[in-house]
């Protein structure tokens, strides 16, 4: 049986009805040559809608592994994850992929925009994947790009944009299909301080909603003040869960 985390946010077993994500007993092992390394040690936590939740920690603390498991792209070795009440790892592979497509938006550290299609089409990718006709998808994406103040860049290729603008396109792509969960991996890591701050302000403005949860993995202390909640991971265990960073960090 895995170790319990030092600081659990909810009692084991029960999921709060308002929880967007309910993770229980999450453990994850990785093979490293002949040995097995456990990077997450039975984490129990809930993520609530209407909040911007940060998962922070040093490199190797397991924060990326944790959000990968929470959003259904990495199978846990132990434990279960319910996202909006759906036990996602009990879904078939295809159903899980469709669940992600319809419920989760992703923002990656390196944006991962498709270089050969224009900004509007990049932002429209989730809609196109859902089967929305391309032109309609682009129009809906343009509305969001306008909201993100890059509507005038809609016909440009990603390489013609600055890093901050590209991240805004990534935000538009994450939100265009109106997901209930937005997952961001180091969204400001590739940006300078002011661009990072602007992107996070914008993200807070457009991504945080009463019916939407937003998890951000980061170790960028310049943006910690924008969090509604901060979960600190150390060596695969939750060591802090609160509104602000603990004093010793």
């Amino acid at each position: 049986m895995s170790e319990r985390t030092i600081m659990d946010t909810k009692a084991i077993g029960g999921c709060a009805p308002e929880a967007a994500i309910c993770a229980r007993g999450i453990a994850r092992d990785f093979e490293a040559g002949q040995s097995t390394i456990r990077v997450l040690h039975g984490i129990d936590t809930d993520i609530r809608s209407g909040e911007m939740t940060y998962v922070v920690g040093e490199s190797g603390s397991g924060k990326t592994t944790l959000i990968s498991i929470m959003c259904g792209i990495l199978w846990p070795t132990e434990g279960e994850v319910k996202v909006f009440g759906t036990d996602i790892y009990k879904l078939s592979d295809t159903d899980l992929v469709n669940f992600r497509l319809n419920n989760i938006g992703f923002i990656f550290q390196q944006y991962n925009l498709i270089p050969s299609i224009d900004v509007a089409s990049n932002a429209a990718v989730p809609l196109i994947a859902q089967g929305v006709p391309r032109e309609e998808a682009r129009e809906r994406a343009k509305v969001l790009l306008d909201k993100l103040n890059i509507g005038n860049q809609a016909d440009k290729l990603p390489r013609q944009l600055s890093g901050g603008q590209q991240q805004r396109v990534a935000i538009a792509r994450a939100l265009v299909h109106e997901p209930r969960l937005v997952v961001c991996d180091e969204p400001t890591a590739a940006l300078d301080a002011s661009s990072g701050r602007r992107v996070m302000d914008l993200l807070r403005e457009v991504a945080v909603a009463p019916d939407r949860a937003c998890i951000i993995v980061t170790h960028d202390n310049r943006i910690f003040d924008l969090a509604d909640r901060i979960i600190v991971l150390e060596d695969g265990r939750v060591t802090h869960d609160g509104k602000e960073m603990p004093d010793d960090h």
Partner: protein, 378 residues
């Protein structure tokens, strides 16, 4: 998503053109070499095709093709004429001779003696002059290959004299003939003239050309001739096939062309495989992001399939167009005269392209399918 896949492909111009080059080059090599091979071996039957009236060819039992024949005694002609179902039978002589050209060069030529009365044995069409010119003394008709080879462009071959086996021959016409396998110049003359031009042994009759009577089939008449005369008789199609088979069995051409076609296939796999793998590897992050967002592996396969399909279709079209341009471009060259692309060859090269793309696509896509969506967070 297919549109996105196509844009991903065309957006990387270097690799896109590299893939087109790989497929186009393979298609060109396979299609062009197979076309040349087929047309070349078909020339083993050119002697048969150049005598279109003959429905049955009668020969000594050891004769194999129009160019590999053993002469028969002149009485064979009468024997054949006596067989039921034979509408007409005419003598046909094929021999080798040497010609001294006006420039003093010595050239080997084929001499074909056609029936004195009917001129059966001449090609169907004349490029210049009329078939009747052969009735003139010492008259020969040269095939168009010979007209180009023996005479400079500014000289009209008609009326020109040749020294044929130390005898005088006068060119009176040019035949529109299918060149022989070796592209040897052919001189047509009347049978009686040919006997004079070409010294030979006691027996001189190479073939008896036969037309069948109404209500008879060439196969039946050929069987009857064989049964009643002891000679070998083949229908036009059988004898044409024998000429083709002879070349396939007795030359290294199938092996050589086969190796080239195989090389085209291997080069296609190498270029396309490498480029396609690099292309997918370069886009692995994008594919990983798409998988994380919620694009299924089945859709990813469709996307890669669309990319391969587009490259395949355009590359294949370029290769076939290249082959057509090659055949058209060299159409004036006597070596390529009458060359055509049999419909089966583009189908075969299309199948080769499908195989190349299937093999390379399957190898390349494995890395994409094995990519975990979570890798985009690393």
């Amino acid at each position: 998503m297919i549109w996105i896949a196509i844009r991903m492909l065309t957006g990387d111009a270097q690799k896109f053109y590299g893939l087109l080059f790989g497929i186009g080059f393979s298609t060109l090599l396979i299609t062009q070499q197979m076309t040349i091979f087929v047309n070349l071996v078909e020339r083993g039957a050119s002697g048969v095709y150049n005598a279109p009236e003959a429905e049955v060819w009668v020969m000594d039992p050891v004769s194999r093709t129009t160019d590999v024949s053993y002469a028969m005694p002149g009485t064979a002609l009468d024997k054949v004429r006596a067989v039921e179902g034979v509408e007409w039978a005419v003598p046909h002589l094929r021999a080798q001779a040497t010609v001294r050209t006006k420039e003093g060069d010595l050239e080997g030529v084929g001499v074909i003696g056609v029936d004195d009365a009917t001129l059966i044995g001449l090609p169907a069409r004349m490029a210049q002059g009329d078939k009747a010119v052969l009735f003139a003394p010492d008259a020969v008709v040269v095939d168009d290959t010979g007209a180009l080879r023996f005479f400079p462009p500014e000289v009209n071959p008609i009326g020109e004299r040749l020294e044929l086996n130390d005898q005088r021959a006068v060119v009176r016409g040019i035949a529109d003939a299918i060149p022989s396998f070796t592209s040897t110049v052919v001189l047509y003359t009347r049978y009686s003239n040919a006997l004079n031009f070409v010294p030979g042994t006691r027996n001189r009759l190479s073939f008896v050309l036969v037309g069948v009577a109404d209500g008879q089939t060439p196969e039946d008449v050929a069987d009857r001739i064989e049964a009643e005369t002891g000679l070998k008789a083949e229908t036009r199609e059988q004898f044409a096939r024998a000429g083709v088979d002879f070349i396939i069995e007795n030359t290294g051409i199938p092996t050589n062309f086969g190796i080239t076609v195989l090389l085209g296939f291997v080069v296609g796999i190498a270029i396309v495989g490498l480029t396609f793998s690099l292309f997918l590897r370069d886009n692995i992050k994008q594919f990983g992001a798409l998988k994380a967002i919620g694009v299924t592996n089945a859709k990813i396969v469709q996307m890669v399939g669309a990319q391969a399909g587009m490259v395949g279709l355009i590359g294949y079209a370029l290769g076939v167009i290249g082959t057509v341009a090659f055949i058209k471009g060299f159409g004036a060259n006597p070596f390529f005269k009458g060359f055509y692309i049999p419909w089966q060859i583009p189908l075969i090269s299309f199948a080769a392209v499908v195989i190349i793309l299937s093999i390379t696509g399957l190898i390349a896509i494995r890395s994409v399918l094995k990519t975990e969506p979570a890798s985009v967070f690393r």
